[in-house]
């Protein structure tokens, strides 16, 4: 789908571990919140209010700044029925849209297949980090996983540039297709040469990047800066995947969670600044999600796995504001008497992005029909 003549781009930002949404967007006037969270609760006067009942965590000032520009859609109470409390299985469910079966194909892998059916561009999907998240996996769909954008490709441990170049030349010779060597060897040759080609292409990103924006020195900011660099290099990437780890705050939440949301907020702000500076913001939408929320009550040092967390959609074309409904803190309204209830099915959010942003049919990807939001400006 084109936005202002450019292909729409989706940036997915996974918060790994289960972000404590209730301490990110805080029901600061609710007595139950303060009573339930004697250790980790944020005092009402420290909260950055966005309305009479909800406010941002004090360390998310940058995210709030984006919200005040109407560029942040806060999706409250996102989840699915019988929310799974295990990290791996829970995250799998978000990745594959299959709550009841174990499958190996992810929603973005299937999306990439629709966006680039002939697999012409190995950079259509780019994941930052080692290994491939299941969300991006589909048999036959090539996805580029970048551990280090400044040093990507084969034989990266050979430090000296000249020696590395020579070794890559030799590599290329060794991977030249050989007649009569069989299907497996042909495949191997092709794969090796494709990687070389892909690294040559992706090299342009750090080489051509110029920016005045100062990204903060934290891991998610680094990933988002890499997203910007690749996006500005016009390599045809439609889907980016990034991860921010550490949100599993069973203990030590008081120092840990504020640091994380601070990193996240300042990273997102810098990224948006960079997009605006390069006039490349219109075609980019960001989804920030996590595998589950956390319990209402704290355990004296942190919070344990819960459900009914939240998500964010951020971008130039986003109609900022509150979406969904903040889950009730009243225990009689909760699942099992202690977990927040979700109001928005995550597959509805995916469907929104697939159909309204990427121009791809949602049903076969999310395995069903789910109510969509209307978060995009006309």
């Amino acid at each position: 789908m084109k936005i202002n003549g450019k292909d729409s781009v989706l940036v997915v930002l996974q918060l790994s571990g289960g972000n404590d949404f209730m301490n990110t967007i805080i029901p600061y006037t609710n007595g139950i919140y303060h009573d339930s969270r004697p250790t980790v609760g944020i005092p009402a006067e420290q909260v950055l209010p966005l309305n009479d009942t909800l406010g941002f965590h004090p360390r998310t000032g940058r995210l709030k700044a984006l919200y005040d520009m109407d560029k942040v859609a806060i999706i409250q109470g996102i989840g699915y029925p019988n929310s799974n409390r295990s990290h791996f299985r829970g995250m799998d469910i978000w990745h594959t849209c299959e709550p009841d079966r174990l499958v190996t194909e992810g929603w973005l892998g299937k999306t990439l297949y629709e966006l680039d059916p002939q697999h012409e561009n190995v950079l259509t999907g780019v994941s930052f980090g080692r290994g491939l998240p299941r969300a991006m996996a589909k048999a036959g769909v090539p996805v580029t996983s970048v551990g280090n954008l400044d040093n990507y490709g084969m034989m990266t441990s050979i430090q000296q540039d000249q020696e590395r170049l020579e070794s890559l030349e030799i590599f290329k010779e060794m991977y030249a297709p050989a007649v009569g060597s069989g299907a497996v060897r042909d495949y191997l040759s092709q794969t090796g040469l494709d990687v070389l080609k892909g690294s040559d292409v992706i090299k342009k990103a750090p080489q051509t990047y110029r920016s005045t924006v100062d990204y903060p020195d934290n891991p998610i900011a680094k990933s988002l800066r890499d997203v910007a660099r690749v996006h500005f290099a016009d390599l045809g990437t439609r889907v980016f995947y990034t991860q921010h780890a550490g949100y599993d705050t069973h203990a030590n939440e008081v120092p840990t969670h504020p640091r994380l949301v601070d990193e996240l907020s300042s990273a997102l702000y810098a990224f948006m600044q960079d997009l605006w500076e390069h006039e490349r913001a219109e075609e980019v939408a960001i989804l920030v999600f996590t595998e589950f929320g956390r319990r209402v009550k704290d355990n004296g040092s942190g919070t344990d796995h819960g459900s009914g967390g939240g998500a964010f959609l951020i971008g130039e074309r986003i109609k900022g504001g509150l979406y969904g409904e903040y889950p009730s803190l009243d225990p009689s309204q909760q699942e099992h008497g202690e977990d927040l209830v979700h109001h928005v099915d995550y597959r509805g959010v995916y469907s929104t992005l697939l159909e309204q942003w990427l121009g791809v049919e949602a049903r076969p990807i999310v395995n069903g029909h789910y109510e969509q939001l209307q978060p995009f400006a006309a």
């Binding site: 090539p142 020696e163 299907a183 060897r185």
Partner: protein, 468 residues
């Protein structure tokens, strides 16, 4: 002649184990092929690995997610250091076939227990193997047999037992599945103590008689008030069982076959090899040792050099055995596990019950990059004991080593490896670009050692090195 023996022995050790150093190969060759096969088939002839040593450095009380990385690292450590290579390789084989994933239960002790069971019974008979599997808590949880009740059966385990763990599709009916499932009602495990507050707990098999459906069932033409053992007794008698298992053995030890779902349509590439193993199965009451004895001693096995794409595990364990590190629990062991996961194989954690897709499906742009970079990186530090050994053997050839000899010797010591023309030419070109390899002065020796390191890096970057 001696070279052929060595190449053959290297092939055997790559397949039945995780590779061997030149010194080990020379000792094995002196012992003789058949005798080495017997040694492999009888791990009890050799001492067990001292686990206390590993546990002193890595307290393995499992906590959460990340502790699984260390258990993965521990298994790689075992593969690198075991004196019972086939025992570890069979545990890996059964892990591939009876594919179970940690990610469903997140209970690491249960997964490790499953592997210990495979180590213990992996070379025994099919009846014992399937019986132990049916009592394995990780498997019972994985395939929901703990939800398989007299009042409401759950067919998951019954189905996969027949479809994936013994006979294969097309050899039983839906009714057989239903009745097999009913026979396994009551086969469950004790609820393990939960993760909080003190970490994960192991558990054990529990048979709940009150939950068992002991009514009459018909299974594969037999009728009776069958319990799980009876189903297994019937299953192991079916000709389809050895055929299926033999094909798995062929795929794992001899040459890449198509993926299992295609087995109904595509016949085995070497039906005689399958048949020979089936015969051994029948003559030995389903004994894996007997099947493997036939396999390892067969001409078709001996000829099947480099006919398999190495799994990430084999690539990593084999490369580390060559460079000679991690002979002691040193820090950095978990990096091997992380690398394996990035290459697509997180041990103890199969993605689905169909297991990992092997052969060429191990390879895509991302995994190939990881594989090449891993091996290239391992060869970077020439002070590693295994690389030093290779350098010494090169030096022993004379004060100046000609370029062609340089290449030949490295290929020999790294395998022996067989290279295609393109790779051979490229390596030759590199060798010639530096002239003779000299070790006369300390400066020459240092420079030559660096060149050897680079040659080894180029060798492990080849396509050929992806095969084992």
């Amino acid at each position: 002649m001696a070279d052929k023996d060595l190449a053959l022995m290297a092939h055997l050790m790559r397949r039945a184990g995780f590779g061997a150093t030149r010194e080990e190969l020379e000792a094995y060759v002196a012992k003789g092929y058949e005798e080495v096969v017997e040694d492999l088939l009888h791990p009890e002839r050799f001492p067990e690995l001292d686990d206390t040593l590993f546990c002193r450095y890595y307290a393995l009380g499992s906590t959460m997610v990340d502790a699984t990385v260390m258990w993965h690292a521990r298994w790689l450590y075992r593969m690198i250091n075991t004196q019972r290579p086939l025992e570890e390789k069979m545990a890996l084989f059964w892990h591939h076939v009876f594919a179970t994933g940690w990610h469903k239960s997140e209970n690491t002790p249960a997964m490790v227990h499953q592997m210990d069971t495979f180590r213990r019974n992996g070379l025994s008979d099919m009846r014992t193997i399937l019986l132990d599997l049916s009592r394995d808590p990780a498997m019972l949880d994985w395939l929901d047999n703990n939800e398989n009740h007299k009042s409401a059966a759950n067919e998951n385990y019954g189905r996969e037992l027949l479809e994936l763990f013994s006979m294969g599709v097309g050899n039983y009916s839906e009714q057989d599945i239903k009745n097999a499932a009913r026979a396994f009602t009551g086969w469950t495990f004790a609820q393990p103590i939960p993760l909080y507050p003190y970490g994960y707990y192991s558990t054990h098999f529990e048979y709940r008689e009150g939950d068992h459906d002991d009514s009459e069932k018909t299974f594969l033409g037999h009728t009776g008030r069958f319990n799980g053992e009876d189903i297994i007794d019937i299953v192991v008698q079916q000709p389809a069982t050895p055929r299926f298992i033999a094909r798995h053995l062929y795929n794992f030890f001899v040459a890449d076959e198509p993926q299992v779902p295609a087995w109904q349509i595509e016949p085995p590439q070497d039906p005689e090899a399958i048949e020979a193993m089936c015969q051994a199965y029948t003559e030995s009451d389903g004994n894996l040792r007997a099947m493997l004895r036939v396999l390892f001693n067969s001409a078709s096995f001996k000829a099947a050099r480099f006919k398999r794409v190495k799994s990430p595990t084999e690539l990593i364990a084999g490369t580390i055995r060559l460079v000679g590190t991690h002979r002691f629990p040193e820090p950095g062991l978990h990096d091997l596990a992380t690398a394996s996961t990035a290459m697509g194989q997180f041990l103890h954690n199969a993605p689905t019950v169909e297991g990992w897709h092997t052969g060429k499906e191990w390879i895509d742009g991302g995994t190939l990059t990881e594989r090449v970079n891993f091996a290239v990186n391992e060869m970077a530090d020439v002070s590693k004991p295994g690389i030093q050994d290779m350098i010494q053997r090169l030096r022993a050839q004379g004060p100046a080593v000609a370029p062609e000899t340089f290449v030949d010797t490295c290929l020999d010591l790294m395998g022996p490896l067989e290279m295609g023309d393109e790779a051979r030419r490229a390596l030759s070109r590199y060798a010639h670009s530096g002239g003779e390899l000299r070790f006369g002065t300390p400066e020459e020796a240092d420079a030559s050692a660096a060149r050897v390191g680079r040659m080894l890096q180029l060798i492990v970057a080849t396509q050929e090195y992806q095969f084992g």
